[in-house]
Amino acid sequence: MPEAWPPGLLMAVGAMLIGMLRGSARTAVVLILPVLALSAVWQVPDGVGATAEFLGRVIELAEGSPVRRLFATIFALMAFAGGLFSFRHAPRQELAAATLYAAAAIGVCFAGDLISLFLWWEVMAIASTVVVWCGDRPASRAAGLRYAVMHVIGGALLMTGIAAHAVATGSVDIEPMLADSPASWMILAGLLVNVAAPPVSAWLADAYPESSPTGAVFLSAYTTKAAVLALILLFPGEPVLMAVGTYMIFYGIVYALLENDARRILAYSIVNQVGFMVCAIGIGSQVAINGAAAHAFAHIIYKALLFMSAGVVVYRTGLQKCTELGGLFRTMPLTAACGIIGALSISGFPLTSGFTTKTLISEAAKSNGLVMLYFLLAAASAGVFLHAGIKFPWFVFFQKDSGLRPNDAPWNMAAAMLLFSFLCLLIGVYPQPLYALLPYPVDYDPYTAGNVLFYLQLLLFSGLAFFLMLPLMKRTLTITLDFDWFWRVALARLGTQALGALDAIAAGIGRVGRSHGRLLTGWARRHFGEDGAFSRSWPIGTTALWMALLLSGYVLIHYL
């Protein structure tokens, strides 16, 4: 049997097909391709598979390991559910771009060396930019451009880091390193751009809510989680990640609390959840890496579910601001129920997937004696329930009667939501199969009575805090400034001022030019005009004479 195709490549070819096909043929590819990719994922053996030569280096096209397969599995599953959710509603370009995006994320999973990692990384950036643009509004085009610029910068950092690393160590292998040299710092910075680490966290909440109702479902899954995998492979136990992750966790909570746009609330909570994973990678123990991987797996499912639920609302009403929504549970009971399951999962409520995966990370902080971090994570768990667990369903589906009576989800969107709701509950009730796929053996039972009681107290009293403080959380028609103000406003102002200064200089030159102009043009006409010395055709003899003179002058100077 010929060597199997790397799953990412298989899916990328399929994405091209989706772009060309129409009607039911396209639908068939959208739905069958992820299944084929999933089976290819499970055929990638451990260790380095296919290799090729590129730029004088051996490129490892497919390298398998349990954690790589785990991420590729959820990426393929996500492609299927996302395809099911969107195939009847998304434009052709978006379906093709989203599939290519998924293909690139799967490619990252199996990249055996830094060069192929980088190539897939860039394909991911381009494809996801197209997905943002498919939002097809002026705001989407502008946000997509900002998104692209940010990822070009991230890619440039990553590439410079990889090149410097290759020169310094002579190796482009993917192996654990620490941020201890300029090269490794640049690689780390390039990866951190994609997890939306500070100070560039804003790109995520800027771009995702501007995509189409279906596009955001794909966007929520791939870029950040592919970067989480890259961090697991390259920087496990890098201490700086604990600080970065903690910042992301609380940044996500605070900004989501202030936010009015329902899908932007969910976008901020991606940063928050990925913060948990980044923190865990910073801890770096086996339990922590298991926690990061398991949480990424569960997170993709419930976050996509939340974006599906919000996507149906946007699809049916064309609205996504909390101030305009409310009371939708009356006519959208299924969408509301699925949204609530996603919201309980993200909050880590017992019996949902967040509980069985996120508590692994707390467990890791506990067993490593990181007291401070443990309590911060507990406070953050309460905060997640506050900003996403209750806030999202409350303001969209309950709150007040907005008077809107939209229909519930179309059948395919409902099917995708039911599938992911089922998985949220399945992983919550029966996490053992997921635990078995984790990179290290798991010796952890989340369902001890004390543990369940601890989280019930923590979460239910957070709920109490939410409803008691509702008057403080009244939604307003506002956005919240972020670090991106510096490049969206300050830099733009600086640019305008610089242009103004240039204008002034040019005007000055103009004035001087006018007064000396006549003199200058006269001189120019004399020398460069029709009969001027510089435009006359010279006989070859004269040229030869001049050359001889110049050359002998040069020789003379040389010997002096």
Binding site: F454, Q457, L472
Partner: protein, 92 residues
């Protein structure tokens, strides 16, 4: 004093959906308070394993969750006062 109505359910009449009738909301609150009390008192029967001393105290998680949320909401309010802008800020 916190009033025990959920949010601002404007225009709610008894003829509206059963879930938003004042009676249902009163019952939901009553049920919620009972549930909260149960989770605290259950600690007498089911001990929560303590790792750092303080986390084994009676109702520690309840108080910690509640106070963390109050703190985070107030922090968000304070930051909001500084950083909030009209939502067409970048379009202007």
């Amino acid at each position: 004093m916190a009033d025990f109505r959920i949010g601002d359910m404007n225009g709610v009449r008894d003829g509206d959906h059963w879930l938003v009738r004042p009676r249902t909301i009163r019952r939901l609150w009553a049920g919620f308070v009972v549930l909260l009390a149960l989770t605290v008192f259950a600690q007498a029967v089911v001990p929560i394993k303590s790792y750092f001393g303080i986390d084994g105290w009676l109702s520690f998680a309840a108080a910690f969750g509640f106070l963390s949320c109050v703190f985070m909401v107030l922090l968000a309010k304070a930051l909001g006062a500084l950083l909030k802008r009209k939502d067409d800020y970048y379009d202007a």
